[in-house]
């Protein structure tokens, strides 16, 4: 099967799920996985393709979510207007961070953005007048018309949210796939291989990084808007470093720099975490080591594991033509 056919199959299957009348819980899990997947796609643009580790990702998720929440709740905007504006705000915020942060490289960049991530969370947490501070924002409404639309096709609101998330995810996958396969995307990959090399190849590293950052944070804000409307409540905890690390973990388990990884990782890990809840006090005793084992034995993530397994079934690749073994006997020189 060709790559894109897999994707069509996955999305068609996923679209069929609500028709079997699953419980609100199952749909909710689906929506959560998809929100995390969108976030992971955003992170993948920077980390997987461009090779930069931004640890403020959840902060931009928060900016998107709070922008949506504030615009709809306090300004009375329609969600359908607030959402794209929130995406734009996240992208601009990403640009502003990038302008400064990309002066640093490597670990310093990571920690720099971690600092910014903490600041974003703290500001959201402390700015009572705007964000509701510790109380959070409560009562964000579902998108106008979503409930009616869902009812008209015989679904509950949760089914409507599920489809909204599914469409959002599909858009994200298309956007990321297009970026990856483009002239621009190849330049990002070049930057991943090292700033200096990319520079010498004539790539404007700084501007490419900035644009990658904007795409990444726009996607995070996109996920944030979806989160705000589907949950109806916003608290600052979901915008901090712990959330960033959770997404990072999902992405790593799925497979860095791959197109399927950001979906597979959340799907597996979120479902796993839900199921481990039954273990109560033992859930992290199991989850922690499981995570370590996954990282150690599937270092390229699930996608890498899949490639390894499928590769094993095909015969080993023949040695490159210039390396034919030559079994001549050792002869003596000069004779």
């Amino acid at each position: 099967m060709k790559g894109w056919m897999w994707w069509v199959a996955v999305f068609v299957l996923a679209a069929l799920v609500p028709l079997f009348g699953p419980s609100g819980y199952v749909l909710d899990i689906g929506v959560n996985i998809m929100i995390y997947a969108i976030l992971a796609y955003g992170l993948n643009v920077l980390l997987g393709y461009t090779g930069q580790l931004p640890l403020a990702h959840a902060g931009f998720f928060g900016i998107g979510a709070y922008a949506t929440g504030i615009l709809t709740l306090k300004m009375g905007w329609s969600f359908w207007l607030a959402w794209p504006v929130a995406v734009a705000i996240s992208a601009v915020a990403g640009l502003l961070l990038g302008l400064v942060a990309f002066r640093t490289k490597g670990d310093t960049f990571a920690i720099f953005t971690l600092g910014v991530g903490v600041i974003i969370m703290l500001v959201i947490n402390k700015w009572d007048a705007l964000t509701g501070g510790n109380d959070g924002l409560n009562g964000i409404m579902p998108p106008a018309g979503l409930e009616a639309l869902s009812k008209s096709v015989g679904l509950k609101l949760s089914g409507g949210f599920y489809y909204l998330a599914l469409i959002s995810l599909a858009l994200t996958v298309i956007a990321v796939a297009r970026t990856r396969g483009s002239v621009f995307g190849r330049s990002l990959i070049a930057i991943r291989g090292g700033d200096d090399l990319a520079r010498s190849a004539g790539i404007d590293v700084y501007s490419h990084k900035l644009r990658a950052m904007m795409l990444s944070t726009a996607i995070a804000g996109f996920a944030g808007g979806l989160y705000a409307t589907s949950l109806g409540f916003l608290g600052s905890a979901a915008t901090g470093p712990i959330q960033t690390f959770t997404i990072l973990l999902y992405l790593l388990v799925g497979g860095l720099g791959t197109l399927a990884g950001p979906l597979l990782g959340p799907a597996l890990m979120y479902t796993l975490a839900q199921n481990l809840k039954g273990l109560q006090d033992y859930q992290y005793i199991v989850f922690g080591p499981l995570l370590v084992l996954l990282i150690m034995f599937a270092p390229q993530g699930l996608v890498g594991l899949w490639h390894r397994l499928t590769a094993r079934r095909t015969p080993p690749p023949a040695a490159p033509p210039n390396q034919k073994p030559n079994q001549k006997e050792v002869t003596s020189a000069g004779s």
Partner: protein
């Protein structure tokens, strides 16, 4: 003496060395010629222990070298100046060199003496002694790499393309130094693209192609061999 018997090395499915056998006698300089990708570095890395062998043996004066433990090999007198230099880029040149004498850590006086020796060999390094090794020019780094392998005061010195990136005059000095080291009783195995210079100081040599040894002989024999002359001496 170094005895290599049927040594094979694989990288995954790819076999880089096909059961090669060779030896280096005490006090000899042996040169290993071969095109790019022939497997010279693989051989050197295996002898120094950085690379595990997948078959065969390599024994230095009764010490097996194929255990995949470079620290063990260097303890037993086998030091390597590796391809890619493998320096400690953020440590000073002098620290790099002193660490080269790690196996003689109990013998500070000997290390200091050796340090003086390598500084006279590479006077360029003297003024760079406190600079981070990574800030040096390519050739200067190569000098540090060679000097560091000498600091271990080995009995068997493995030099993987030591002349890489060195100015002609320095190359001469390096080869002269190799010869001096050798005259002091150290056996040397040398891989070189610079076949002329290498054959010049070598006693014997081998030619490697695609992971097998195709030719061996004394210095004179190799120098006059047509195949060697056309492929490696550019005649």
């Amino acid at each position: 003496m170094l005895e290599v018997r049927d040594l094979s090395v694989n990288y995954g499915h790819f076999t880089a060395l096909h059961a090669i056998s060779l030896n280096v006698n005490p006090g000899e300089i042996v040169v290993m010629l071969g095109a790019n990708g022939a497997g010279k570095s693989t051989l050197f890395r295996t002898l120094s222990g950085l690379q595990r062998a997948s078959g065969g043996s390599a024994v230095w004066n009764g010490t097996p070298l194929t255990g995949g433990k470079p620290e063990y090999n260097v303890e037993h007198g086998v030091a390597q100046c590796p391809e890619g230099r493998l320096l400690f880029p953020e440590l000073s040149v002098e620290k790099n060199l002193r660490l080269g004498a790690f196996v003689h850590r109990k013998d500070a006086a000997g290390t200091n003496k050796e340090l003086e020796r390598v500084y006279t060999l590479f006077p360029d390094l003297v003024q760079k002694r406190n600079a981070p090794a990574g800030s040096l020019s390519g050739g200067q780094q190569q000098m540090v790499a060679i000097a560091r392998s000498l600091m271990a005061r080995p009995q068997l010195l493995l030099l993987d393309e030591p002349s890489l990136g060195l100015a002609p005059m320095v190359v001469e000095q390096v080869f002269a130094a190799i010869q001096r080291v050798n005259e002091a009783g150290v056996s040397v195995l040398l891989a070189e693209q610079n076949a002329y210079a290498a054959l010049d100081i070598a006693h014997r040599g081998y030619v490697m192609e695609s992971g097998v040894l195709t030719l061996q002989g004394t210095q004179q024999e190799l120098m006059t061999d047509d195949r060697v002359r056309s492929a490696y001496l550019g005649v």
